[in-house]
């Protein structure tokens, strides 16, 4: 039976979460078709057809999908699954996927499987529970498996080399339940948190939003993204989309530098799979040091400018 991957909304290139979700599909095995939805998505559909290993690209291009509202998208996906006889429906565990996947699952009367971190077999998956302090192996008894995929746990497939076909899908109409009002998106020249090679993250120890500029400067030198703890977001130092952790973004860069972050389990849940972790904290007892590869006990207001200078050389 084949797999339907729901692409992360895009009007241009294929988003990284779609590529990692296809990586998970490859572990399940069989052909993977991709559903591209939105308004004005012809270019995105063509780009998706070039992704390695993609079978058919189903395109739903209509005004009602412009803002990927769950009320409009879920019936479309459910109809596509029924028409195509798919055995698996995969979403990336982004806010789009987390919002829509359970709604699709309920329409199909199946119990979804959230944030899988490994594929054991076609019906059995591993998923972290309790903020990643335990890993559950779960087996689904449902005919269709509706799954969200943790991006850090799977290899992205290549964005090129494929030769999929593109087929238009009939739109399912406007549900008339919700409408888009506005968006306040964080603009940044830096890489996205979930795909950055290096992340510099600040916590309550930063003391203010202004002080975060210190981390921006360091990040620019390293080609890094900037993240934060919940405490820093709650205090209004940085916007919500900076939050790393159990209930924020899950990241696994090659290098994660935690500055003025104590290392609460909810924060560790979001970054402990990073390859190399550096902690800068003035409290030598801070729990973050228990998982850091390199710990520096120092005042961050002295250490961060020094570090910025040292990496520039």
């Amino acid at each position: 039976m084949s797999i339907l991957v729901i692409a992360e909304p895009s009007t241009g290139d294929v988003k990284k979460p779609t590529l990692t979700t296809l990586g998970a599909a490859a572990k399940i095995g069989g052909t993977a078709d991709v559903l591209v939805l939105g308004q004005g998505v012809a270019a995105a559909a063509d780009a998706t057809a070039k992704v390695a290993g993609v079978g058919t690209v189903l395109v739903a291009d209509a005004a009602e999908y412009a803002h990927a509202l769950a009320e409009n998208v879920a019936p479309l996906v459910a109809a596509a699954v029924k028409a195509g006889g798919y055995g698996h429906v995969l979403f990336a565990a982004t806010t789009f996927g987390k919002n829509v996947a359970p709604r699709v699952a309920a329409l199909l009367d199946v119990q979804p499987i959230s944030e899988i971190s490994a594929v054991v077999s076609a019906d059995t998956f591993e998923r972290p529970i309790y903020a990643g302090n335990a890993v559950a192996t779960v087996q689904s008894a449902d005919a269709v498996k509706v799954v969200t995929v943790r991006g850090t746990a799977f290899e992205a497939v290549a964005a090129t080399g494929g030769s999929g076909s593109v087929t238009a899908l009939a739109a399912t109409g406007e549900a008339g339940l919700s409408s888009f009002v506005s968006a306040e998106l964080t603009k940044s020249e830096r890489p996205e948190l979930t795909s950055a090679r290096v992340i510099v993250s600040g916590g309550r120890g930063m003391q203010s939003g202004d002080n975060f500029h210190m981390l921006d400067t360091l990040a620019d030198k390293l080609g890094a993204a900037v993240g934060a703890s919940r405490a820093a977001v709650d205090a209004g130092f940085v916007p919500n989309d900076y939050q790393v952790g159990q209930t924020g973004k899950i990241v696994a860069p090659e290098l994660y530098i935690a500055v003025g972050i104590s290392g609460a389990i909810q924060h560790l849940a979001g970054m402990k799979d990073s390859k190399v972790i550096v902690a800068i904290n003035k409290d030598e007892e801070a729990p973050i040091f228990q998982i850091a590869d390199y710990g520096l006990v120092a005042d961050l207001f002295k250490a961060v400018p020094e570090l910025t200078e040292a990496v520039s050389k």
Binding site: E71, K98, A101, Q111, T137, G176, L222, T247, G295, V311
Partner: protein
Amino acid sequence: MKILVAVKRVVDYNVKIRVKPDNTGVELANVKMSMNPFDEIAVEEAVRLKEKGAATEIVVVSIGPASAQETIRTALAMGADRGILVQTDAEVQPLAVAKTLKTLVEKEQPQLVILGKQAIDDDSNQTGQMLAALLGWAQGTFASKVEPAAGTVAVTREVDGGLETLSLKLPAIVTADLRLNEPRYASLPNIMKAKKKPIETIDPAALGADFTPRLKTLKVTEPPKRQGGVKVGSVQELVAKLRDEARVI
């Protein structure tokens, strides 16, 4: 407007959980239990809407063991009006929770149902979305602001790129994110008052609920442990290690 809030009893967020040696689950005996933190935020939002005059009655629902009464009492002490406990010792998965809540919604006829965005034990982040689908209602998930108007509610959502505001037709489902509000601590007089508020206990069979799990937990294991590393003495030493040993910069 009547509001229904769903609350779940979970292991307290401060507890460092342990996996059982036989790998059947997580040690829950003698562990401190509390209301799921996101559900406290959901209750607080309902209470604030009532204080602002936007809501008339708040009904709190939990599906779980007899001890979930305590969780409901906590919500009543925060300002909810009455509670419903669908009592079961079975482990109830989100689809079954959503179906049970749907039956209660049809009975209670609220205009707004507020849930937590995720429960911090199973981290599913599913129930609200599924309830919305089953009812054919709009959903405002990961909410950081909720503003009811005539026949609609504006919900600002925390999304990967920042914030997004949607207008939802009422009745609707909202799931609470961390920054929606800061929940209050119940005062002693309110805790006393809450003891007199009614909690109705319902047998799941009376609702026609089917809790048969669709997902079977085969085993629960410890994640690989991360080894702590070394402390470095200076920024220079740190940079040298990152360049020559770890080779990440």
